[in-house]
Structures are given as structure tokens and as C-alpha cells.
Symmetry: C2
Subunit: 483 residues, 2 copies
Amino acid sequence: MSARIAAIVGGGVIGGGWAARFLLNGWDVRIFDPDPQAERKIGEVLANARRSLPGLYDVALPAEGKLEFCATIAETVAGADWIQESVPERLDIKHRAIREIQASARADAILGSSTSGYKPSELAEGAANPAQIMVAHPFNPVYLLPVIELVPHPGTDPVLVERAQALLRSVGLKPLRVRKEIDAHIADRFLEAVWREALWLVKDDIATTEEIDDAIRFGFGIRWAQMGLFETYRVAGGEAGMAHFIAQFGPCLQWPWTKLTDVPELTDELVQKISSQSDAQSGMHGIRDLERIRDDNLVGIMRALKRRDWGAGRTALEHDALLLSGRAAPDWSQPVLTIERVIPRDWTDYNGHMNETHYLELFSRASDRIMELVGCDAAYIASGGSYFTVETHLRHLDEAHAGAKVRVTTQIVEGAGKRLHIYSRLFHDDGRLLATGEQMLIHVSLETRRAAPPGGVVAEGLAVAMAGQSALDRPDGLRLGRS
Amino acid sequence: MSARIAAIVGGGVIGGGWAARFLLNGWDVRIFDPDPQAERKIGEVLANARRSLPGLYDVALPAEGKLEFCATIAETVAGADWIQESVPERLDIKHRAIREIQASARADAILGSSTSGYKPSELAEGAANPAQIMVAHPFNPVYLLPVIELVPHPGTDPVLVERAQALLRSVGLKPLRVRKEIDAHIADRFLEAVWREALWLVKDDIATTEEIDDAIRFGFGIRWAQMGLFETYRVAGGEAGMAHFIAQFGPCLQWPWTKLTDVPELTDELVQKISSQSDAQSGMHGIRDLERIRDDNLVGIMRALKRRDWGAGRTALEHDALLLSGRAAPDWSQPVLTIERVIPRDWTDYNGHMNETHYLELFSRASDRIMELVGCDAAYIASGGSYFTVETHLRHLDEAHAGAKVRVTTQIVEGAGKRLHIYSRLFHDDGRLLATGEQMLIHVSLETRRAAPPGGVVAEGLAVAMAGQSALDRPDGLRLGRS
């Protein structure tokens, strides 16, 4: 089968994002954009997409399609399966683009518009082929965020709407079929409401842009990455349910704010409507289940942000550092306590216990801790020396489950010259030995990426450690190194 | 040092969440709540907190403090360092609670209110000790979400505000000091605006509660978990910057929506204010850097949601399945291609290459794939049989970096009876051998958690595989099993 063809009319950040999403999923992509900078600008969007989108998936994407910049709309859209219009947000410009597109497009191509404000019926006014026109409104960055608001007008061919949904899904997107057209569709109405409120807060010196952003991203923003407004409030309503929540909070959380706005009257009929829609949406989960789903999602998101040292993740990292800050210097005459922690819920696999990957994560962090304790800390690593693991041997002796408190004690078997031979034991809080992890590390120069003797501070740190550690019994079952 | 004492006046979901946050960080907690169900309800919040909060951290939390339910406010607050008022949202009830609290509280205790609507000066009207009163407004679930809107009134003692911030940080929270009091503080004003808009959309049949939630959680909700409104728009504005963005979008994304609302006039002064605040907030990062920070965060969040099979994570899992769906049956006369993927950016460690943990993640998934191919798939596992890894040997031969395409080929060394001995090779797309992973797995009964022979379907699948695999050369350097 030859590749499908996407025609992108209007480049920029949005058109470029569409181009990337199609191209990286194996479609051929043709672009029309009169901006002389278009090729550079779209090249930058594509570079961002190439560095981030493939890593989202646990399977390689297909080979990229063919990318072509065209001189005319006619050339761009001829034979295309999907035509995406992302020209500037003015109705006369959009009408002109649509006229040109339809002069050369296949009659059964999807003609999607990226408009954030116009209704599809406005776009279709006076069009040669209104049946193929629909809004397909994406969110920036288009190559990463999945949702597309798909809004047909009454004259859009339902067969094409169906096909559009299937094609969007085939490139990893999540079409959200909007049932009635309205200015700005759905999500942008919310963004608009928040934007308006935020402008007032800045103008009135209640908050700076940074404080507003923090109020969002350290709080409800994290919630909204996984559940929306209604499901979140359903959980907040607790056992009493959604109708109770609405009764409690009413049309506004507080009356004074309604002064300047028109608020729908909360008739019994509206309460009933929300309540039954919420049942259809979330009723398959009990409230206790929803709470746990929410909590596991929130912890997962914040743990992901810890890896990025960003936002709520940074707050958690700072707390880790505070919790560690009181630790005494190690007693090198014993195996060293390197890890003491609780197993997060998302470390569980299909066997209902901690996945093996996280056993190595624990042992790897134990080795990191030993490195730190002998002087191979962040500052030392920044100076160009470090250790690379060359070999690892793991034995699984017992199971561990989410929520269990575990600890790792670590012994340095050999620490001299370039070699660092480490043996760690993972214990459950109840005393059971769960696993052992043996690792051979080699000191390297981070510049040459080759073995090199450690610097003075680490050599001395190791000597201090080994003065105690070398008196310890050799662990049973060593498999690596000279043993 | 004896533990600090938190007094929780008013239980429920919010008071219970505060109790959990303090208790799990080693504080003693006393609770007053006249609801006869209070102990059960708070017990449920505590159970949720205990199952989720510790896993957020990579260090164990301190031992829990002592939890006590008290019969009077006097008993609850006496000697407490932090008193948190979470009684129902009515000013007369709050005033009565504050009166009772202050009759027995230390004068230098923090008296925080969880109010989502009232200003601290309203709470302090007629109080015996206004200086200790401030709003400390949390977000549900209080035991997980970090932000606390901390709002003093003009008469609050600044020393206590400082201390409040330090104490909140010491239990892992993120105090957001609000500089001017206003109804509903900051975040709830946004939630209110969205709630209002959402009610209209449901009432007018534009969208159901589920569609509204999807518009949020598959799009801007994911963005807001890591950057707020202004930083997101700064990035969207691109090279032209924040002032350009505002000029383009104006006070509203579209004019028609302002009909019912009062919108601030976008004077040069206001544009300048936003622009310079945004510079102070984000100016240390270039736009290209911000784009990449954003993208890496978004991928990290969506990958976290993949592990939960939820929301945007489920969308990505479905795309994985689609990408895999065309695969041909394996040719057992060769090592089997088990993994082909790109290395995500957050697999990189301080050495600037893929962390060892993810080498095992790849090999572990390769073993999962082999299990699946011989018939030990999700349905088989649901029927009670599976394989557990008992031993692993990894060799690191070369480095791998984020963005690299890699593949794993896997060979079954032995697959008979209970034993499954696997050997995988990890290759860079350019052909370099990066690592080898050898694993010994044992078939188990998931009920007894002990070794057991595999069921017929797997025994047969293995026989088919081994008919081809046993003719392959034994890999070099096997360390496990009978070899």
C-alpha cells in the first residue's frame, strides 16, 4: 500500500505540528505556506517532534513518510487523503484558502480546519463542497497532545466524519466528536474563561504570572492531567455522589463572583442531567476505586516530574533531600544502609508484585549512594569523572509488593584502582531477604568515555571505606570479577 | 526533640487530608470533629494517604506520629504548633470555631483556615488574636497535592507567616504566598470560571460531562500539570515573545465571548506588566529550551499514565498495540526480534546515557514478549500460571543515548519443564551490540506462588519454539543455570 498523503495548508507551529504527527506515523506530507521562513520554522517543529514523540511509545513508529514543500495550494492538496487548513484566524482568509483547496482536492478528502474560534458552518459558507469541511482543532504541541476537537456542521458528510475519526486514531490521536457547533468549541472556552480571570488578577496586583502558574501547576493542573472537572468533583462529592456535590457548591462556588456573569439556573432538571451523565461516565467505578485511581495517577505524574526535576516533581525531590539531611556518616565497619523507602504502586507488574526492573532500580540507586559516600558526588561528576556499570548479577529470592517498606544494605567487595565491586542486599521491613544485586563498576573519564583512575578525592574516600569494608565476610554467591 | 503537634478542627475529606499529611511526616495529630462518623471517614482518608503518599518519595518518611480524636476544641488545640480549621463554609460557623480555638490555643500557634472562599480579614473579624489567623487553602487530595494558598490579612503577624511557610515546606508542601486577599484566593477563581462555563455547555447540550472531561484531560490539562497558563502561552508565542502573544490573542481569544463578562482593557501598561512578569518567571530559559522542557515533561506525564492504563496514557497504549498489530509470527529458527523502540529522554542519567535500570527494562520486556509468543499471554496469566524471574545477568558493552532507536533479539537457551532460560542482545540501530541480558525464569502457580509445570498451551508453544531455537549456537558467556 502506498503511503497516505496529508496536505498541510498554512505552516507555523500548528501546521508544523500536524505535519510532524502525520510524517512520524509514516504518511507522506506536503506543505503549503507562503512565509519565506516556513521551511525553517517547520523544521524546528519537526526537530522537536522527532526528539520527543517516538519516546512516548514502547514500539518503534513506522519509517517517516516523504516531506515536500509545495509552491501552490493546488499542488499541495491534489490526491491528498487529509487536508489540514491552519491559515491565520480570519474568516476571509480561511474562505479564500478553502476555495483554493476545493478547486484541486479530492471530493472525498477530509478537509479539517485548525480554527480555535470559528464554527464549521461559518467556514463552509459559500464553499464548493461543504460536505468535506469540518473543524479538527488540535492543542499545542500538536505532535504530542492527543485530543482533537472534531466538529462537523449539519452539512458535513457523516461518512467523512467517521473516516476522520479513524484516521486520527491511526496516527495516535484522540478525536473528540463535538455534537453541536459553538464558538470556540469546548476546551478554548475554558481557556478563555481562565485567561480573562488571570488578566484581572495580574491587573489588580493580586498575583504575578508566576504565582498564577504555580497555583495551577502545583494543584488542580495535576488533577486535570488525568481526570477532568466532573470526574474530579464526583470523587470530591464522596459517598454522597454528584447530586450532593452540586447541591453543596451550586452554580458558583461563591455567590459574590456571579456579579458580572450570567450563570445557568440550577434547576432539578439540570442537576439530574449532570448527575446521570456523570453516572454514565464514571459509574462503573465506585468512589473508593476512583479515589485510588486518582491517587495512583497523581503519584505517577509527580514521580514523572521528579525525573524532570520540575514543578511538583521538584517539590518532592526537595522533600527527599530534607528527609535524607539528618543522616549520620556511614559506619564502614558494616554493610551500609543505602536505601530505605516504600515501593510505589506503579512498580507492580502483571504478576502482582514488584517488577524486576525496579529491583535493579533499587540496586542502582544503592550503588549511586555508595559512589556519593566515597566522594563521587554530583560535583565530582561535573568535574569529569564517574563510574559506569559494566556487569550486574541479580538473584530474586522472595516477592515484594506495592506499599512495602524495604531497605538495601550495601557492601563494597573491592574498591581500588578503577574497579568498584559492589554487593547489595534488599530486605523487606519484616526482615526477609528479597534479592541480592552484585555490580561491577569501572571508573571512567566522562570526556573520553573510557576507563581511567579515579581522582584523589574518590581514591581517598574509597581507602577510608575499604579500611572498614575489607574486614567484612565475602558475600556468598559472587559471580562477577576476580572472585 | 518531641514531635510537633497539629490540631485539626473539622474533619471530613479536607481536615482528614491535613491530618494525614502531618501524621505521615511524623507530627502528632489531634482531631476534633463532632460528626459521629468522623473517625471512620478520617480513617478512610488516612488509608488512602498511607497507600499513596510514601511511594511519592524515594526516601522513607519518618515514623508516623500519634493520632488522637478529642472531645473538645480546647483539648485539641492546647499546645499545638499548627491549628487547621476546616469547618463548614459558613462565616458564622467559622467565627464560632475560631473563638473556641483561640480560647485555648498558644498565642504563637499558626491558625490556618481551609476556607476556599472567605478572605482572612473576614475570618479575623472580632477575633481575640487576629495576628495568628491566615488562610491556608489546600487542594484535594490534601495528602498528595503540594500547593497551599497562604493568605495573610493586614493584621497577621509576618513572623507567623514566615514560620507557616517553613512548616508547610517541612511536610513536603508548596506554600504559595498570596500577596493581596481576594474572595476565593487564586486557583478557585479559575475553577469557578471553568465550572460556570461547563454548566452552560451541559445545559445547552453542547457536550456531556464526559466529553468536557476529555477535552480537559487529553489536552490542556496535561500541559497544566507542568506549566501554567502564562508559561504555556509564552512558549506558544514562540520567538516573538509574550507581548506578541498578547497582541495576537488580546483580552479574549475571540470577541463574541465577552458579551456577558467584564474584561480588563489591555492597555500598554498591562501588556508591559505581564510581559515583564513573564520575563522574571521564565526568562532564564530560551524559548527553544522551554519547548523541550515542556515536551519532555508531557512525554513523562503521558508515560506515567501509560503505566496506569488511563487517560492520555491509554491512548498511547492503544497506539502501541496498533503499531504491533501487523507483526508476522516469529521465525523460531532465528533469535526473535522482541523489542524495537526509541529511547525516551527521561531514561538518561547523570552520566549522560541510558541508565542501567532501563537496560533491564528492555530485557524484561523482551522476556515478556517471548512469554507471550509461547502462549503465556494475558489470558493465560489470568488463568493462574506465569513465569517469575529468579536470576539475571547483564553485561554493558557500549553506551546508548536518548532518542536512539534500538532493538532486542532474544534466544531461548532452554525452555522445558518449569525452566525458561533466555538470552537477549540489545543492538543500536547502527548495528553496535550495546548489552546482553541473560535471564532464568521459573514457571509458577500464581495461587501458591511456587514453581509448577506450565499448562498445555505453554508447553506446546515452547515445544514449537524450541524445535527452532535449540538448533541455534549457544551464546557466549552464559552465567546462569546448567551451563
